[in-house]
Amino acid sequence: MSERKSEPGARPAVGRRRRWLRPQMFPYLLLVPAVVFELLIHIVPMVFGVVISFLKLTALYIRNWSQAPFVGFENFRIGLNTHGAIGSALVHSFLITLAYTVLVVAGSWGFGVAAALLVNSEFRGRGWFRTLFLIPYTLPIYVAVIAWEFMLQQNTGSINTLLVDDLHILKNPPFWLIGGKAFWSLVMTALWRSWPFAFLLVLAALQNIPQDLYEAAAVDGASRWRQFRSITLPQIRPVSTVVVLVLFLWTFNDFNTPYILFGQSPPSAADLLSLHIYVNSFVDLNFGLGAAMSTLLLIFLFIVSVVYVRLLRVGSEENA
């Protein structure tokens, strides 16, 4: 209020205030909080993470990181040396994660599209199905995974009751959470939780397809299958690309599913990357090595995302 009553001497100050309030400055003012937070929570930690990856930062130096010896690319060399124990374990973990991601993303997309098509047509009670199918996704992730952990117990789990006692598919109840089957436990659990996300988005996309496209096609004598291929699939393509990218990133970075199912010592068949890095950092207390692995993961994800976005032009910069 006070600047309104401007005395002659106060002129320059008013001028400076005015410059701050110039319309060009307004968007920057709005961005200040976001930029400050982005710096604090993303940029600084990321740069710091890269710095750590060049240090031999073990438990000894955790309270005073600047004393940790500088080792250059040593951590990266160890991580990428496929002849060494650490490097080969990292490659193994990477490949497991890749297989896991491909299966979960492909399965989620397929289930999501199928269920969305089923619920999209008019029939009584479709609202109930829609709600039911969304529940797995709305549950807190640890609840979903704990539920599966319980179901996958060898002697007290409902899955073995179903497979062995009721359906007689298997003779002896297998261990699902130990050994090679652990990988499939992981895939099933993640798939159960992820597909409703694809379902939700694809269903919304389906409802935006103009109905007269189908009517015109029907007049031309196109079969349902033909309509699906020539109208539905192209129309849900933009949503599908986003769904696949988002699910890829979530699944590839997944920590929750393996950590809750197996704790800090997962079976080798289910040793996903995020958990692998976590164990190397916080259990084996080699933070420098963990940071180097994180940096490698970052580079990989960055390349994949850029290639994917370029190929499919998602992120649609053009409509902004």
């Binding site: 968007p27 990321m46 709600t131 640890y142 609840v143 539920a147 929750n256 994180s294």
Partner: protein, 280 residues
């Protein structure tokens, strides 16, 4: 019309399949939460030998569940509120103004959203420990520290969704208000925010849900006093015993706020998500 019948049969089979795979785990959880302990510790049976609601009473004393509940609520609500407010301002700028640095900002937000939590956890952990050491400020193991780390995923998510949502709202609405003498900020608060409420609700619910389920940061950055539900639920499993019935009961209690919230706001969520998140 043969084809019609074929598709109707296909639909029934398909719906039955998805209903079964969805309901099977839900049934296991619900039925186990009302079984006596002896039942859940022996072979699984579809029908309980005896129905009891004791697990729902016991969960509160076996484990300090209420305490974890409060911790989770404080952390998740704070992270959500902060990210939504900061995101509204930033998204308004990005959506309505052309300015130098706009694209680098958008790109930064988009890319940080893609990075794994483990990438930020490690440096933040070391930064927190060292701040504690140097300045005596307790971020490590405190709720404030946890809230800050939760912003790493809730803030980019909120900004990204809101930019998309604001873009879908015609700018003529605010321009009309500004012609009537409103300032840009006034137009944001009096016109754009009320109109965008569905989108803002969607963003808040997603941010809250993601935080409510968060495990990674909570597993490293909490102590007994600040433990969240995500980690606290582990306490039902002791060395000698797993109280599966109580664990399942607690799982249901913990899920109620988010599942109920999500389902109640479903309409807005789909609207907000498709306008913002997808066409972004």
């Amino acid at each position: 019309m043969r084809e019609e019948r074929f598709y109707r049969v296909l639909r029934v089979i398909g719906l039955a399949f998805f209903t079964l795979i969805t309901a099977f785990p839900l049934y296991t959880v619900v039925i186990s939460s009302i079984k006596p302990l002896g039942d859940v510790q022996s072979a699984f049976h579809w029908i309980p030998s005896r129905i009891t609601f004791e697990p729902y009473v016991q969960i509160w004393s076996t484990v300090p569940l209420a305490h974890y509940f409060i911790n989770s609520a404080i952390v998740c609500v704070s992270a959500t509120v902060i990210s939504v407010i900061v995101a509204i301002l930033a998204a308004y700028a990005v959506s309505r103004y052309r300015f130098f640095g706009r694209d680098p900002f958008r790109l930064t937000v988009l890319s940080t959203q893609m990075f794994p939590g483990i990438l930020f956890l490690l440096p933040l952990f070391i930064i927190f420990v060292n701040i504690d050491q140097t300045f005596g400020v307790h971020l490590y193991g405190s709720r404030v520290g946890l809230i800050i780390t939760y912003l790493t995923f809730s803030l980019p998510l909120s900004i990204w969704m809101l930019v998309g949502y604001f873009n879908s709202i015609p700018r003529e609405l605010e321009e009309a208000a500004m012609v009537d003498g409103s300032t840009a900020l006034g137009a944001l608060f009096r016109v754009l925010i009320p109109v965008s409420l569905p989108g803002i609700v969607a963003v808040a619910v997603f941010a809250f849900m993601t935080a409510w389920g968060e495990v990674l940061f909570a597993s490293v950055l909490t102590t007994n006093a600040t433990r969240t539900l995500a980690i606290g639920l582990r306490d039902y499993a002791s060395q000698s015993n797993v109280y599966w019935n109580q664990l399942m009961a607690a799982a249901i209690v913990v899920s109620i706020p988010v599942v109920a919230g999500f389902l109640a706001l479903q309409r807005y969520l789909v609207q907000g998500l498709t306008a913002g998140g997808v066409k972004g």
